[in-house]
């Protein structure tokens, strides 16, 4: 075999190795979802969703955790959305050249890489202790808001950047002020991208466990929260709690709750992708 043939053979070998690795990644995803479906699907019924947690696995449900997740999601959205979008607008439209903008940019990139559990420690000290909010829905939401802020800011900047400058120029030419241009032209034009980023960030927040455990969210709460100052649990913490119990019934419960959690995250991802595609096609 001459060296050309050898090289061709190596080339083919790598190609199949590459296919192998790619398929392995996908196969793992499938095995993994399949296994959880087998373990948990028969456990899901209306009772499972509407029951309170209990010491007996077959009577336990996810009602309080699910409601907790919804409360957390609601408050995280109303806190992180305006702040993140405002900061993104500032960085992209106002502070592009000054030194402060440079510092802000390095800082945001670094914040995006801080482990989520560190945000938990920040929330524990600042929101729970110093601001005296206790282990409440509000303290948890504030913590998660800080966690997803960098994602929202980056998404906002990217979407604003993608708006053609001709739109901006046309608005200025008609005598609009900077803010009028942003509010009436740039924001509507970039809303699809911003929405995509916000939904992706929220889907991350729904799955977060560690920072909420550190903030003091409980594994067992007898009632669903009724105000932002109430104690709470969320789906991932309920899952974590069930995983750490020895009885087999709880493993089944954990798998069932995971199906619901995955359904929520994948659905949010799907909606985000839908908005992205719709928005991308707008400029073509």
């Amino acid at each position: 075999m001459n060296s050309i043939q050898k090289n061709r053979l190596k080339d083919q070998a790598f190609k199949y190795w590459g296919i192998c690795c790619t398929c392995m990644g996908l196969a793992l995803l499938i095995i993994f979802i399949g296994d959880i479906l087998i373990d948990g699907i028969q456990r899901i019924d209306w009772g499972f969703i509407t029951s309170l947690p209990s010491r007996k696995p077959e009577k336990s449900g996810i009602y309080t955790a699910l409601m907790g997740s919804i409360w957390i999601l609601f408050f995280t959205t109303i806190i992180a959305f305006p702040i993140g979008v405002a900061a993104g607008i500032y960085l992209e439209e106002y502070g592009k050249k000054n030194k402060l903008a440079g510092i802000l940019e390095i800082n945001i990139s670094n914040l995006a890489g801080v482990p989520s559990i560190i945000y938990g420690l920040l929330g524990l000290e600042v929101f729970v202790r110093i601001m005296n909010l206790g282990a409440s829905v509000l303290a948890g939401s504030l913590t998660l808001s800080l966690l997803i802020l960098p994602i929202v800011i980056v998404a906002t900047r990217e979407s604003i950047k993608a708006v053609p400058s001709s739109i901006k120029d046309a608005s200025y030419a008609l005598g609009a002020s900077k803010w009028q241009t942003i509010w009436y032209q740039i924001l509507p034009a970039s809303s699809g991208g911003i929405l995509t980023g916000v939904i992706l960030a929220l889907s991350r927040a729904v799955g977060e466990t560690a920072p909420l455990i550190v903030v003091g969210a409980l594994a067992y709460v007898p009632f669903a929260p009724e105000s932002p100052m109430d104690e709470f649990s969320v789906l991932p913490i309920q899952i974590f709690n069930w995983i750490s119990r020895p009885q087999h019934g709880f493993i089944e419960n954990a798998a069932a709750a995971i199906i619901i959690l995955l359904f929520i995250t994948f659905m949010m991802n799907g909606i985000a992708v839908y908005f992205r595609n719709k928005w991308q096609s707008k400029w073509k």
Partner: protein
């Protein structure tokens, strides 16, 4: 009037942006203050040299080494698994795969990164550990091997996606020149494209390491809660993050020694990830300048 309105709006947008600076300062202050109090009772030399970490026992030792070794061991296993697989995927998708295949596969792989980590923890404990016990009978129920491998699966998309972007961004001319010289795709990929995209690939690896070091739920569920200084992947260990979770689940009094230990452990974690993130930011900036 309009000018005043514009100015007010600009200042309030600026305030929102400044919140991010406040978050960083907040993190550093909170971690430092509690750690400072921690070191008023524990000697800093003990912290770095003691080989035991037992703050929750009656006989207390405060050596960070066992937690650090646990963290590094699980991260190492994760990277050892994810790096070859992730890089192969990125090279295959960028250099070999048909465009349509690449377009469908990439978002699917990225789905792996959007799965909540508590779900991966379940997967490690309930599926991977029993499977590995079939191969290695003396594997404990909690171990760093299965936690590390599952963490590796989680970070594959970080490596494959960012590296693929970097490979894809290499100018077409370089590829065509190599093909023109008679190189195969494999030779072109490894001798021309990968070196040209090396900074992007390095950034992806650093981000993956930083992600692995900070990962919490997988190790808290599947790796155990026994801090020990070992390189043995078959026994239970404890990582920095898992320790913080363990303490947080208990009823910890504010101002107690246990309360301070989680901040001392947290700052160690923060320093590591901060250095890695800064390094990747620096490489990324340098690389951008080189290409423009």
């Amino acid at each position: 009037m309009r000018k005043i309105k514009e100015l007010v709006i600009e200042k309030s947008l600026l305030t929102s942006a400044l919140i991010t600076i406040a978050v960083t300062i907040g993190i550093i202050l909170v971690l430092s203050i509690e750690t400072f109090r921690f070191f008023s009772e524990v000697s800093i030399i003990d912290f770095f040299t003691d080989t035991q970490w037992t703050p929750l026992f009656t006989e207390k030792h405060f050596g960070i080494l066992p937690l650090l070794s646990g963290t590094l061991l699980t991260s190492f296993i994760a990277i050892a698994f994810a790096l070859p697989v992730g890089l192969s995927i990125s090279i295959y998708l960028s250099e070999y795969a048909p465009k349509s295949f690449r377009k469908t596969i990439k978002p699917l792989l990225e789905l792996l990164a959007s799965v909540p980590t508590v779900v991966y923890g379940f997967f490690a404990l309930v599926v991977v550990t029993p499977f590995l016990q079939g191969i290695f009978p003396n594997l404990s129920g909690f171990n760093s091997l299965s936690a590390g491998i599952v963490m590796g699966i989680m970070i594959i998309p970080y490596i494959s996606s960012i590296s693929e972007d970097a490979l894809h961004a290499v100018p077409k001319e370089l590829r065509e020149a190599a093909f023109g010289m008679g190189a195969t795709k494999l030779q072109t990929a490894f001798k021309v494209i990968v070196p040209a995209a090396s900074s992007g690939i390095i950034v992806s690896i650093i981000l993956a390491i930083s992600r692995a070091i900070g990962e919490t739920m997988i190790v808290a569920i599947a790796a155990g809660q026994q801090p020990r200084l070992t390189l043995d992947p078959t026994v239970p260990i404890e990582t920095i993050t898992a320790y913080i979770v363990q303490v947080s689940l208990g009823d910890v009094q504010h101002g107690s020694m246990e309360y301070r230990t989680i901040f001392a452990a947290g700052i160690t974690l923060f320093v590591f990830t901060f250095l890695l993130n800064s390094l990747s930011y620096w490489i990324r900036k340098k690389y951008q300048e080189k290409y423009e």
